[in-house]
Subunit: 605 residues, 2 copies
């Protein structure tokens, strides 16, 4: 039943040799990997406006220079990451780049913050997408946590089915979103040009009382949330069709160009329309409603916006399992993240990501605004480390013409470092938990690594000198009477060794005497040892007896306890058998050096 | 930790030889066994008044003749059961008497309805006791389900500690209740005699319009709920100190006398005071309040009433586990009801009773009035069968002077049968579920019995002819690499048999080749068999391989799968090991004829 449901949801298992087929073309890669970056358009401008609005409507004109600064930052990042792609064609995530060039501790900081960040990506994108839906249908506002969690469940399933299939499903909405936003921008500008909508933004360039450098930096850092997601391409190069690095670089440039155009377009339109942020309706929703009215086009734009935000969450579903795989390969995460599932994806990573992000949404009650700062700061830490690693690399290797790429990475590093610092200074009250959580994650990485190393040391043998050691063996069989099961168990034990004892635990003299005399009559060729239990416990006298046997056997013999166990035909029959065997098994299991053999007896009726 | 908590709540374990000390003296037995019967005083009269009140206040005088009829019935029952005690000194519950004399089916009907009834006893008594509390403290009315469930939990604990100890704790309130009610009756009569309280009941003997035979019978059957519990003594004779039957008979007579006096006293008082039933305050509470005012004496009476009702529930805690033990001994209930716990009580019976009665209270929302009819009908079925069995016995055995006791039992049987019929006729809408539930219980009895008989047939061996059969043996060890665990496992397996194979499941050619060459270098004296798994599953190829081995071995060899299993030092380490062994174990367990041996490897770090 479970198996059938699994097949229906996930599809039939795939052979390992099918792995090569799962590579992405440029166009599909753009859909899978750029939705995170592109979808930031849906909330980037809004984040800037929210900060500026704390001073007043007149301050909103600052959004234009701030947006241009963000755009410049985007250009720097794209150029910087383009170099990473060519240098690390096998996947240059911040973890790898920082680890190789700056050393393991920096790599773990980058890896840890990225892991946490992918979870936040899913949570932020799913709740922002839900915001787009509730802007259009205010009645759904009270169910937004449920909607977001359902979307995450759906994405988890799609990803368990496999990368290519989900890429095919997901490519269309990304292009629709790009077309829709471009159409919105052009239509909006046309309306403004014809005067159908009056230009109603505050006057540009007029200094506003109460504005401070601190506030402007805060607004700028908020706007930088639009840049989250640009690193996705460089992390996922192995997913590209050959030539992977060239295709990845092209995809990155294309993505940067589209993102820049959409972002500045929305910012300009919002300014000229004089739109101020509203907790119940997103900026994009306001723009679409003002341009087209609440008609079919408006609802289409909202639908496509919601769709791309859900796809943004999907980016993390490609990136998180890959990063977890790399960390597990280096023994910093549990081995289970290395196992490929039935459909060749890293199922465990996909499932863990789905569960944690859904949890985050429930904890934060689907509140986008409080999640975004956490999300952004988590991105800029690995950005900085990754580019710092590239700088170190250029200086160490000094290939021909290294100075220009070194300068590019240096500018990139300094910029992202500044933004990270601005975040920490201006939004510390919202992001402090990252600085509690990040050390914890790194501590766990270290603990896991330590454990795996300890185990490897403990289990390693010198295959030239250490061979299996053959010792004597004694088998102990607890018996409760003389039945077919006992007879079979003894037969089995005697097939293994001559050294077999049966142990009977008696509660009263009458039953002990009866057992002893019947055993003598039966004479199965095995000695019966009788233990008296005055407290009617079976476990304690048995364990005490085994301790004695173990002590006598010491290094010379293996002690095996053979436990007959009924396998009932119907589950409810288990209630009718006291299944003391399970208890004995659980109890003995924790003891050193006792082997436990189970003799399953399948009841016929 | 769990062990310590258990010791604190239940006490230290007791030796089996301490069993004899746990017998009850007459006085203690009266406390433990008669609280059910005596406590009926707290609701018996009220049940009659509730029915009569449907016609009107003027009809309440009928409660006097009805109460006298109930009293007569009590006399008949006591005499009838007195004979049972002498005939069945080892415990003459309805189950035993009906089974031995009328045959097994009647025995099971009696046993089944008693089992269900004991659960109802606990539920009814606990909720009626809670009613006494909420009559005094109306603020607690909303929490009465919680109060009742807590009381049941407390009783369960007391009974797990052991019979004698709970008898010592519980004896005092029973005597206090008897004294308190006698004091209430005398004070009330004194008040009436001095005219301090005017006689305000309706005129006696005046025919009331609207009264019907049906209604009178209904009121009579309601009053018979006061008789529930008189069978407790005859069920529990083995709990008495020697001479058990004599002591039991005396206890029964004493109980009958006290019960009759209290019941008629309350009925008379309620009539002369002109009290009508009130869903928010019990009749006893009204009487006490009218006689003494709501002062200390009133609260004492309420407290003592609540206490005896909770103790009534305790009667079932003695009777249910004993009956379950007898049914389990006859293989109609699971064997676990035969096990004596640490404190020598039948712990499983006590716990099951506690859980089911608490469930009933939650389901019925602590509503006494709806539980009582179910409870009463469940009592009168075994009453009837038990006395029918006695009749049969006198006729079959015909000892000297058998006619008088035969007549006594016949009158008893006819009376209780009539009452059972009256119940069915007048209250069918409330009790129909009993006739659905009872057949189900008996069906389950039969199924359990069938299963135990099947198993016994299947496991029985002829000890003179069938001896353990020694066969060959082959051990299969799944390995994932060459480690110390693998080396130890092979050493262990070779200590048992020479016929050992290691099985490696490879996902790709590279790792298979490496494993094969390393194995050859190591040369542990065991053949390595490599299975290729293209779908990255470990279980399926392994199971397929074992099927082949099993098929080849057929009848000649035992096939043992030896599974190395890590025992980690800290629980969270389990996350770090894929513990495929557990999966393999669970999967193989359901297969026929594969033995499973676990080789526990205790990790040091």
């Amino acid at each position: 039943m479970v198996e059938k449901l699994k097949r229906l949801l996930i599809g039939r298992p795939m052979k390992s040799t099918a792995l090569a087929e799962e590579k992405l073309t440029k166009l599909k890669a753009l859909a899978v990997l750029s939705s995170d970056a592109l979808s930031s358009v849906a909330y980037g401008t809004e984040q800037i406006l929210i900060v500026l609005m704390t001073v007043g409507f007149a301050a909103l004109w600052y959004s234009i220079p701030i947006s241009i600064a963000v755009l410049g930052l985007l250009l720097i990042l794209i150029l910087s990451y383009r170099q990473t792609i060519y240098t690390y064609p096998s996947g240059g995530g911040a973890y790898i780049v920082a680890k190789e060039n700056l050393g393991l501790p920096f790599g773990l900081v980058a890896g840890g913050s990225l892991l946490v960040d992918y979870i936040l990506t899913v949570a932020v994108s799913a709740s922002a997408g839900t915001d787009a839906i509730t802007s259009a249908f205010p009645a759904l506002h009270d169910h937004r946590v449920l909607v977001a969690v359902l979307i995450i469940a759906l994405l988890t399933l799609l990803n368990l089915r496999g990368v290519t299939e989900s890429a095919s499903i997901l490519a269309i909405p990304v292009y629709l979103f790009v077309i829709a936003i471009i159409f919105l921008i052009i239509s909006g500008l046309y309306q403004l040009a014809t005067g159908a909508v009056p230009i109603s933004g505050p006057r540009y360039g007029v200094p506003v009382g109460g504005i401070s450098l601190f506030l402007l930096l805060k607004a700028f850092s908020s706007g930088c949330s639009a840049l989250t997601g640009v690193e996705a391409v460089s992390n996922a190069i192995p997913n590209f069709k050959a030539p992977a690095e060239k295709n990845a670089a092209k995809t990155l440039m294309l993505m940067g160009g589209i993102l820049g155009a959409l972002f500045i377009g929305i910012s300009l339109l919002a300014y000229w329309y004089g739109i101020s942020p509203n907790p119940k309706e997103t900026v994009v929703s306001q723009l679409a409603a003002s341009t087209f009215g609440r008609g079919i086009i408006y609802y289409l734009i909202q639908a496509v916006t919601a769709a791309i935000l859900f796809l943004a969450a999907n980016t993390a579903f490609s990136a998180f399992p890959l990063l977890a795989f790399m960390l597990a390969k280096d023994k910093f995460m549990p081995r289970m993240f290395m196992v490929r599932g039935d459909r060749l994806g890293f199922s465990n990573g996909i499932i863990v990501l789905g569960v944690f992000s859904a949890l985050l949404i429930v904890i934060f009650n689907g509140d986008t605004e409080n999640l975004i700062p956490l999300y952004a700061v988590g991105v800029f830490i690995p950005f900085t480390l990754s580019q710092g690693g590239m700088m170190k690399r250029w200086v160490s290797n000094r290939p021909a013409g290294w100075l220009l790429p070194f300068l590019v990475n240096t500018v990139g590093m300094l910029t992202t470092l500044s933004i990270a610092l601005i975040f920490i200074i201006t939004k510390f009250s919202q992001i402090w938990i990252v600085f509690l959580f990040l050390p914890l994650v790194i501590f766990i990485f270290q603990k896991i690594n330590q454990h795996y190393q300890d185990i490897a040391d403990e289990l390693r043998i010198d295959i030239y000198r250490e061979k299996p050691e053959i010792k004597g063996s004694i088998v102990v069989i607890p018996v409760a009477g003389i039945t077919r099961v006992v007879s079979s168990s003894i037969g089995y034990a005697k097939s293994l060794t001559d050294n077999v004892v049966a142990v009977y635990i008696g509660f009263d003299e009458e039953s002990i005497e009866r057992m002893e005399s019947r055993w003598e009559e039966w004479n199965p060729g095995v000695r019966l040892i009788v233990l008296r239990s005055r407290y009617r416990s079976i476990i304690k006298p048995l364990v005490k007896f085994i301790d004695t046997v173990e002590w006598k056997a010491a290094e010379t013999d293996h002690v095996t306890v053979l436990i007959p166990q009924f396998i009932t035909k119907k589950w409810w029959h288990n209630i009718l058998h006291n299944q003391t065997s399970l208890l004995i098994r659980a109890y003995l299991f924790k003891r050193r050096d006792v082997r436990i053999a189970t003799f399953p007896y399948h009841l016929q009726k």
